[in-house]
């Protein structure tokens, strides 16, 4: 590392050093460093000064996390601001190759000023860029985590852009395609790295970050926890974690969390928590697109991805960000054999001019695409509303869930009774001597047609269940589909909406 002064500066910024982070990341005494003796060389080919760039600014190696092997590249801000130099990048390249070859997850601990310009300036740039190409080849083969523990400026911000999971430390981390100085030079805009690309932007507004954490230790803990839900590669299944939580545990009063007034909001997080093993939930993007919840949890010891509507925000109605968030999460789970559980209470996609201008059709199509493409076990429970295309994207009957269950309060319909009456019967209401009474009558008539027992009587839902049995029903259905094998016609790849 870059010496006592630099380490002190690093600590003064509330940041740990690369090696302290590695100690926290891996099981005790399991890390083996690769490339310790590497350092910067001069452009003329001389050996250069080894003390100038210890390990060339990036600590690379392998170790065990919960007993499973993981490769890690930890950029060392105490050495030339963690800048990405030619030799250091050779080390990281070697790790990426090994990760793909051996089917082992890759973790980047990012704290870097970006490319070392003195080594990269000029048209030798023409030969660069393979790191992103390689990340794309790794995508869906091995888990990729980019932990943001400091700056990550310029093109290197595509490392988190292409990674599966991006935790960000509050205050100290940032990412942007151009750092503040470059922005000033390019466009004249005055900003700071933090204002432009801190966690308050990426975990709340842009959706590039997955979780905001308070400090380095919490960030590393998030990485370890995230990986605990994942297999080492796409040919394996996620590790089980034994639990004392009974698979048949009844949850009395679960339905009480859902208001009987179909217009009223409530916090779906409470429902999710009550259902899963040990009430333990690891939410992805909790502060962005809050009208949908995406989270990892376990049912009877097995990892699952949960997609749940959140009536607390925007009434649970879907918009472009919610569709993007869910589509990305579904694709991630499907890539790594993590079954999906859908908890549905959705009044539909938000409609209107603003939504169309934002391209809701294109974004909503991503969610349709992801849920259709997913071949992992899928279980859907309809708690209350399941209206229109909202029912489809939340893995309705047409999307081949392995179990589709409804609470007695479920309302599966192309739209709600109020909307249906307004659209279907405006003439009757206008012609009536007592429009209010007619409206009410029609509402009652339409409402009678929206009933989960009707859907069940047509065999469109598998069962109407006692809400208190939801946990057991989900576990049984997931277990029943564990041996699922689904083959599709050959194609190079579909044309995925983006």
């Amino acid at each position: 590392m870059g010496g006592a002064d630099r380490i002190e500066q690093q600590h003064a910024k509330n940041k740990l050093t690369a090696r302290e982070r590695i100690d926290l990341l891996f099981d005790a005494a399991t890390f083996r460093e690769l490339g310790l003796l590497a350092h910067q060389h001069t452009m003329s080919g001389d050996a250069g000064d080894p003390d100038r760039s210890p390990a060339d600014g990036v600590v690379t190696g392998e170790g065990l996390i919960d007993g499973r092997r993981v490769y890690c590249a930890a950029y060392d801000f105490t050495v030339m601001a963690g800048s990405m130099g030619m030799i250091g990048e050779q080390k990281v390249t070697r790790l990426r190759h090994k990760a793909l070859l051996n089917r082992i997850p890759m973790v980047w601990l990012l704290d870097s000023a970006g490319a070392r310009i003195q080594e990269a300036a000029g048209s030798t740039f023409a030969g660069s860029g393979a790191l992103f190409y390689e990340q794309v080849q790794m995508s869906g083969v091995v888990p990729q985590v980019a932990a943001m523990l400091g700056p990550c400026a310029a093109g290197t911000a595509y490392i988190p852009g292409l990674a599966d999971f991006v935790p960000m430390v509050k205050e100290t981390s940032s990412m942007a395609l151009g750092g503040a100085r470059l922005v000033r030079a390019a466009t004249g805009e005055e900003t700071t790295d933090h204002a432009m690309g801190g966690s308050q932007v990426h975990c709340y507004v842009s959706g590039v970050g997955d979780v905001e954490v308070d400090d380095d230790a919490a960030c590393i803990a998030a990485v370890r926890e995230y990986l605990s839900f994942f297999p080492s590669n796409n040919r394996e299944t996620p590790p089980r974690r034994e639990t004392d939580d009974l698979r048949t545990r009844r949850i009395e009063g679960l339905n009480k969390l859902v208001p009987t007034n179909p217009r009223a909001a409530y916090d779906m997080r409470k429902v999710v928590r009550r259902l899963v093993d040990g009430e333990h939930v690891f939410e992805i993007k909790p502060a962005w697109a809050r009208n949908i919840i995406t989270a990892f949890a376990r049912f009877d010891g097995s990892a699952v991805g949960i997609v749940a509507n959140q009536p607390m925000f925007k009434g649970g109605a879907l918009d472009i960000d919610a569709a993007d968030k869910a589509a990305r999460f579904i694709t991630l789970c499907d890539a790594f054999n993590i079954p999906l559980v859908f908890l549905e209470d959705v009044p539909g996609f938000i409609v209107g001019t603003e939504m169309e201008r934002q391209g809701i059709i294109r974004h909503g199509a991503k969610m349709l695409y992801a849920v259709s493409e997913a071949t992992v076990p899928k279980v859907t429970v309809v708690l209350r509303k399941a209206y229109g295309a909202g029912y489809y994207v939340m893995c309705g009957r047409g999307y081949q869930p392995d179990g589709l269950f409804a609470w007695p309060s479920a309302e599966i319909s192309v739209m709600g009774p109020e909307g249906a009456v307004e659209i279907l019967f405006p003439k009757q209401i206008a012609a009536s001597d007592d429009p209010a009474a007619t409206h009410q009558e029609l509402l009652t008539t339409v409402r009678r047609t929206i009933d989960p027992y009707i859907a069940a009587s047509w065999a469109y839902v598998d069962d109407v269940i006692d809400p208190a049995d939801t946990r057991r029903v989900i576990i049984d259905a997931l277990e029943g589909a564990a041996t699922k094998r689904l083959s599709r016609p050959w194609r190079k790849h579909g044309v995925r909406p983006v």
């Binding site: 217009r263 009223a264 909001a265 925007k314 209107g352 603003e354 709600g416 109020e418």
Partner: protein, 72 residues
Amino acid sequence: MTDVKAELVGNLWKIVTEVGQQVEEDDTLMILESMKMEIPITTPVAGVVKAILANEGDVVQEGQTVAVVEPA
């Protein structure tokens, strides 16, 4: 001063606060009716309600400032 904004387009159904009222973070100030749901508009900060910028029955747009809260 912190602007309280509508999260989505809808009909402002009820105002459940008044100017001068003390509020806690996440308190509901208004209820929007949209997508046939009652959607609470909450304050992101604790403080005092300084202004209410819409009336019951108004259609408000996504991102429209409907109240102003002076943080405590």
